[in-house]
Amino acid sequence: MESKAQPLLLVKDLKKYFPILGGVLNRKVATVQAVDEVSFEVAKGETLGVVGESGCGKSTTARLLMRLIEPDEGAVIFDGEGVGEQHGLSVRDMRRNMQMVFQDSYASLNPRLTIEESIAFGPKVHGVSGKVARERARALLAKVGLDPNLFVRRYPHELSGGQRQRVNIARALALEPRLVIFDEAVSALDKSVEAQVLNLLNDLKREMNLTYIFISHDLNVVQYISDRVLVMYLGKVVETGTVEAIYGDPRHPYTRALLASMPSMDPGNRTTAPALTGDPPNPINPPSGCRFRTRCAFAEEICASTEPRLEMIHPAERHAAACHMEIAGSGHSKAMATSPPKAPPQPQHMGVVA
C-alpha cells in the first residue's frame, strides 16, 4: 500500500446504511447496506475508474465523498486533511477542491438559469464577483468546446445532451477543483458524442492537472480512461488494481465474470470465467461471509462463514482482491497454504450457480 507521494484522496472504512421506513409510524423496518466499509485511495493526477452492477453503491459512494449525504462511519482525507474534522478541511472548502458531474445532463441544470448563470453560480457562492464569475464562465465554455458567444445566454432546453454535459463539466470546473467525480457522466450520450466528451476529459485533465474518479458501468470506457480500477459488489470493494492488472489478470470471480460479459474484448485476452447470471442479492439482507457467494462458482464453506478481507496480491500493481482463494491459509481448497497463488484458479464447473 505504500506509495511515494501522499494520495490526494484517502477513503477509510466509509459506511452508509439507509433506513427503510415503513408502517403507520414511519419507523425503521430494515436497512439497505448501500456502502459498507469501503476504503480506497486516489493518487494525484490519476483516474480511478469505479465499476459494478446497478445498485452496488457507486453513486452513494460519490455522494458520500461530496457530503451530499452524511456517512454513518468512516473518514475521508483530502490531501492530508480530514474532511469535516475538527482540525481538518471544512466541508465547504472540500467542495471547492472536489466537484461532481451527474448522469442526467438535463436535471443537473436549473431550467430557469442561462448557461452562463449556471456556471457562474459556484464561483459567486465562493465570493468571486459577478463580473469575474461571468468571465470565468465564458472562458470555461470555450475550454469545453462550446462557443461562448453562442451559448452564454442559452437555456438548458435549447442544448443537445452532449452540449449540456459539456456545460455541466464547465460548471464543475468553475471552482477550479483538484478532483472531479463523474457519476455515469457519459452513459446517457450516444457513442460518437461519448467519445468526444471522453477526449475532452483527457485534455482537460492534462491542462488543468486534475484527478478523476470515473464511475461507469461501461467496462470499455473505464478501461480507456482509467489508470486504476475499483470493482464494487453490494456495497463492498471486491477488487482493485491498475487497469492492466484488473483487465489482464482479474482475480476475483466477480471481476472475471464482469469481464467475461464485456461485449467487445480482445479474444486472446478472454477469460474462461462463467458469465454473470442472476440478479445481485437484496442489499437489505446481504449474504453472510462473502457477499458474492450466492453467485460464485467457487463458493465453499469458508465463504459463508467468514468475510474475505481485501488481500494484496501484487503490491507493484497495487492489485488487491477480497476472495478467500487469494488469501493464503484461508481454508479455501484453492487457496495456497502459505504463499499467494501464481496463476488464477480455473473454474471447476461452468454451470449456473444461483
Binding site: 466537484q99 468546446g145 443537445s160 460548471r171
Partner: protein
C-alpha cells in the same frame, strides 16, 4: 484545443436564445381563450378601479317609484334593484368589494402558504411533518364550511371575511408549494448547487424559488375564482359586508326576494360572479400550459 473544436460540436444553426418569460409570452399570444379572459378581466378590474368616474349614476341613490325596472329601461341600461338604485352603477361599484374580497385572501394565502410549503419541502423531516399534518387538519372540513365557521366566529365584516378566506386558502397553497418544492429539491441541479458549497438560503433563492413560484402562482390564480364565489357566499349569508354597500354576493342576497318580479335583473350579480370566476379559471389554465417549459 484542436480536439475540442471539432465540427459538429458547435451548433450548425446559431439560434437566438429565448428567455423563459419571453417563450411563455410567445405561447400565450397564440392562445385566444386566455387572451379573451384576460381582456374581460382587465375590463372588469379597470371599471372597478375607476368606478366613481365610469358609473353613470350614484349607486346608493334609492327611489320608491322606479323599483325593479327591466333591463333596457331608458336611463337605466341594466334596470334597477329592489330599492330603485341603478343596477349598472351598483354592478360597477360592486366589483370593487367583490374583487378585493376575492383576490386579497388568495394573495395573503399565496405569501403565507408558499413560505410554509417551501420551508416544509426544502427542510423536510420533522418540520415538514409538523407543517403538513397541521395543514391536513384543515383539509378535514369542506372549504365552504370552514369559511362560514371562521367568519361566524370572527363576526361579520370585510376584514374578518378576508381573514377567514385567507385561512381557507393557506392549506391548499401550502400543499402545492410543498409538493413542488420536494420534487425540485430532489433534482440534480439542487444537489449540484449544494455540491458547489452554497448554503440553504442561497439555494432557495437562486434555484428553488424560480422553479416553485411559477406553478404555485398559477394554482393560486385558479383559486381566485373559488375565492370570489366564497366571498360572495359569505356576503350572501350576511357574514361579509353589510347593506347598503354594493357587493355582488350581497346584491344577490337582497335581490333574492324579487326573483319572481324581475328574474333577469335579479340574476345580474350572479352573472358577474360567474363571468369573473370563470375568466380567472380559464386564465389560470392558459398560464399553466404556457409555463410548461418542456412542452
Amino acid at each position: 484545443m484542436a480536439e475540442t473544436t471539432l465540427p459538429g460540436l458547435v451548433p450548425d444553426v446559431p439560434i437566438a436564445s429565448r428567455g423563459y418569460w419571453s417563450s411563455v409570452f410567445r405561447r400565450l399570444s397564440g392562445d385566444w381563450t386566455t387572451i379573451l379572459c384576460l381582456v374581460v378581466l382587465l375590463i372588469i378590474i379597470l371599471s372597478a378601479v375607476f368606478a366613481p368616474w365610469i358609473a353613470p349614476a350614484d349607486p346608493y341613490k334609492t327611489s320608491v317609484i322606479r323599483r325593479l325596472k327591466d333591463i333596457g329601461t331608458p336611463g337605466f341600461p341594466l334596470g334597477t334593484d329592489e330599492l330603485g338604485r341603478d343596477m349598472l352603477s351598483r354592478l360597477i361599484h360592486g366589483g370593487r368589494l367583490s374583487l378585493v374580497m376575492g383576490i386579497t385572501p388568495v394573495i395573503n394565502a399565496l405569501i403565507i402558504g408558499s413560505f410554509l410549503g417551501i420551508v416544509a419541502g426544502f427542510v423536510g423531516g420533522k418540520i415538514n411533518m409538523v407543517i403538513m399534518r397541521t395543514v391536513d387538519v384543515f383539509y378535514a372540513f369542506p372549504s365552504v364550511l370552514l369559511a362560514i365557521a371562521i367568519s361566524g366566529a370572527l363576526g361579520a365584516g370585510l376584514v374578518n371575511s378576508i381573514v377567514s378566506l385567507t385561512i381557507v386558502f393557506i392549506p391548499p397553497i401550502t400543499r402545492v408549494a410543498e409538493s413542488v418544492t420536494t420534487s425540485v429539491r430532489n433534482l440534480d441541479f439542487v444537489e449540484a448547487a449544494r455540491a458547489s458549497g452554497a448554503g440553504g438560503f442561497t439555494i432557495i433563492r437562486v434555484h428553488v424559488l424560480g422553479n416553485v413560484l411559477g406553478p404555485v402562482f398559477v394554482f393560486a390564480t385558479g383559486l381566485i375564482s373559488v375565492s370570489i364565489i366564497l366571498a360572495s357566499g359569505l356576503s350572501f349569508l350576511g357574514l361579509g359586508v353589510r347593506p347598503p354597500e354594493p357587493e355582488w354576493g350581497l346584491m344577490l342576497n337582497t335581490l333574492r326576494q324579487s326573483i319572481y318580479v324581475n328574474p333577469w335583473v335579479c340574476a345580474l350579480p350572479g352573472v358577474m360572479i360567474f363571468i369573473t370566476s370563470i375568466c380567472f379559471n380559464l386564465m389560470s389554465d392558459g398560464l399553466r400550459s404556457a409555463m410548461d417549459v418542456r412542452a
